[in-house]
């Protein structure tokens, strides 16, 4: 799918703006603080009804105005689809094909985007919690089963932690109930681990291809899923995984009571990334870490395409400056014929123009746009 036309009204620094886009690569170029990222944000909001930059929708409305409006013409395999989103101080209204949607959930999914912003580099460099958050968000979109098991796991985890605390301070003494909670946590945990493992394997395949492309066949990217059970046990059935987790809880019961919290489970999982068999998080160069983050993130595009049958639109916010020329070239090559791409940059000098099939370039200067 691709975005053919975007119309903004009172959105951030744009009073009124109509832009027509190319099916391939679209470049927003301009100095700092001119409104490049605002354009990417508008496309993102049109797709997901919320911003990646702020949780306060009112910030997107131009100063002293009552509402902001984003209109988009999305071309899908099935034809042209007009989308409209109005953000007012009273809330949001969304229209698909000029019909108002009573639920925002009915609006979502009509236009899919994948955004890569500098803060996404944290997928590699950040804490295990950042990576867990990333995979939970990602897999949650793809599998309702995962989302439901994860939220039940979190609920039981909370109950179990509280009960372990009560046992620690002798406010409770019933160990049968602890066993019940352990069994329940192990059952949801086994489901979460199984789905994580399967989806990570799928994602790894896509990320590998992309990584090879970006690094000009020099580097091989592999994932390793670290959880409380052994690597080779991950391919076992859910039942076997469940039994293993249960055994871990039984064995460590005294320790967990002493600590008053759950020490083992998928809430402590991590994903390690290896380039040519070396851990990137620990030993990779800055550039390798960036490339890895990019490959992992871009694998989302293929995963989404595999799932919905259509490629989403790719938004790259100021990412090119983070990569060397070779990696830039390969990145743009990897997707240029399949995926409509929007990117922001301060100058065109370092964008390898010759490999891009006539990009459409937009010069942005204080909210004025020249094609």
């Amino acid at each position: 799918m691709y975005l053919e036309q975007l119309e903004l009204t009172n959105f951030r620094n744009y009073k009124k703006l109509i832009l027509n886009f190319d099916q391939g690569i679209n470049i927003f170029i301009g100095a700092n603080a001119q409104g490049k990222t605002n354009l990417l944000e508008a496309i993102y909001v049109l797709a997901l009804t919320r911003s990646h930059r702020t949780s306060n929708d009112k910030e997107m409305i131009q100063w002293q105005q009552d509402f902001a409006r984003i209109d988009g013409q999305v071309m899908r395999q099935t034809g042209k689809l007009p989308l409209e989103l109005i953000i007012s101080k009273q809330g949001k209204r969304a229209k698909v094909n000029h019909l108002e949607q009573s639920k925002l959930s009915a609006y979502l999914g009509n236009f899919n985007v994948v955004l890569f912003a500098p803060e996404d580099l944290d997928i590699v460099k950040g804490s295990p919690a950042t990576r867990r958050h990333f995979i939970d968000m990602e897999f949650g979109q793809m599998s309702a089963n995962y989302l439901s098991n994860l939220s039940q796991y979190k609920l039981v985890l909370k109950q179990r932690n509280l009960y372990l605390r009560q046992l620690k301070y002798q406010q409770a003494k019933d160990l049968v109930y602890l066993e019940v909670l352990s069994d329940q946590l192990a059952a949801f945990g086994a489901k979460v681990i199984k789905i994580r493992y399967q989806l990570l394997a799928q994602m790894e395949k896509f990320a590998q291809v992309i990584h090879k492309e970006i690094t000009n066949q020099q580097e091989t990217l592999t994932f390793q899923y670290r959880t409380l059970i052994k690597q080779h046990a991950l391919t076992d059935s859910e039942e076997t995984i469940y039994q293993e987790i249960k055994a871990i809880y039984t064995e460590n019961q005294p320790r967990e009571i002493e600590q008053g919290t759950t020490l083992y489970g998928p809430h402590r999982d991590d994903v390690l990334f290896f380039v040519n068999d070396q851990n990137v998080q620990a030993f990779g160069s800055q550039g390798q870490q960036r490339t890895t983050a990019l490959s992992v993130k871009l694998a989302e595009i293929d995963l989404m395409a595999a799932q919905t049958g259509e490629y989403p639109v790719l938004l790259l916010d100021d990412v090119l400056s983070e990569l060397d020329d070779v990696r830039q070239t390969h990145l743009l090559k990897a997707f240029q014929d399949k995926v409509q791409t929007f990117l922001t940059t301060t100058s065109l000098d370092n964008v390898a123009k010759e490999i891009i099939n006539d990009p459409k370039v937009f010069h942005i200067d204080s909210g004025m746009i020249k094609v």
């Binding site: 509280l162 009960y163 109930y177």
Partner: protein, 198 residues
């Protein structure tokens, strides 16, 4: 300016009910003022009567006017099977089915450390005592299909299974007369898991 004391107190009382905020409470209070005196008196009486004349059954824990309750006293009912539920409301729901003629046991809650309810805080002890004294052969656990309801069901089954009593759990899945296309993913998943051979 404030409302005169009688009506302010009435508004306050209405606000103690669940789901009623200050606006609804004010509307209800003013409506009460305009009601016939007889009706208001009957209303007040039933409020007090509900509190004074209702007790918990000493056997099953259900709400009743007389102890033991009508269901526990009815000897024509099947004395060998008991359904364990969370709330008295659940007993009413199951009774509407008109097809179950066994006994009930009301827990008055589920196990949830988050809400501060442990095994001693719900009606489990009396269930165990009851099982020791009476010839119950099967316990059907009908707690809600929430993680807490499941944990409570598992807990009870661990306590009573060693005594050789059959423990069963209500089925999960599609509701009768519903269309598959409108069912949510999790319900469908449970329904597929719990499929039966034909």
């Amino acid at each position: 300016m404030q409302y005169p004391e009688p009506i302010a107190k009435l508004i306050d009382s209405y606000m103690k009910l669940p789901g009623i905020g200050s606006k609804t409470a004010t509307r209800l209070a003013f409506y009460t003022i305009d009601m016939q005196t007889d009706d208001v008196q009957a209303f007040a009486k039933s409020l007090i009567a509900a509190k004074k004349d209702l007790h918990y059954c000493s056997i099953c824990g259900n709400i009743t006017e007389s102890d033991p309750c009508d269901i526990c006293r009815d000897k024509s009912r099947d004395q060998s099977v008991v359904i364990v539920v969370e709330q008295p409301k659940d007993v009413m729901a199951l009774e509407k089915m008109n097809d179950y003629h066994g006994l009930y046991h009301v827990l008055h809650g589920v196990l949830s450390p988050m809400e501060g309810t442990g095994p001693e805080d719900i009606n489990i002890k009396s269930l165990i005592k009851r099982l020791q004294k009476t010839p119950i052969k099967e316990v059907i656990i009908a707690t809600n299909a929430t993680p807490e309801g499941e944990a409570t069901a598992m807990y009870i089954s661990r306590l009573i299974k060693p005594a050789g009593i059959k423990v069963t759990r209500l089925a999960h899945g599609l509701s009768v007369g519903s269309d598959i296309e409108y069912a949510d993913e999790m319900t469908l998943l449970k329904a597929v898991e719990g499929r039966q051979e034909m």
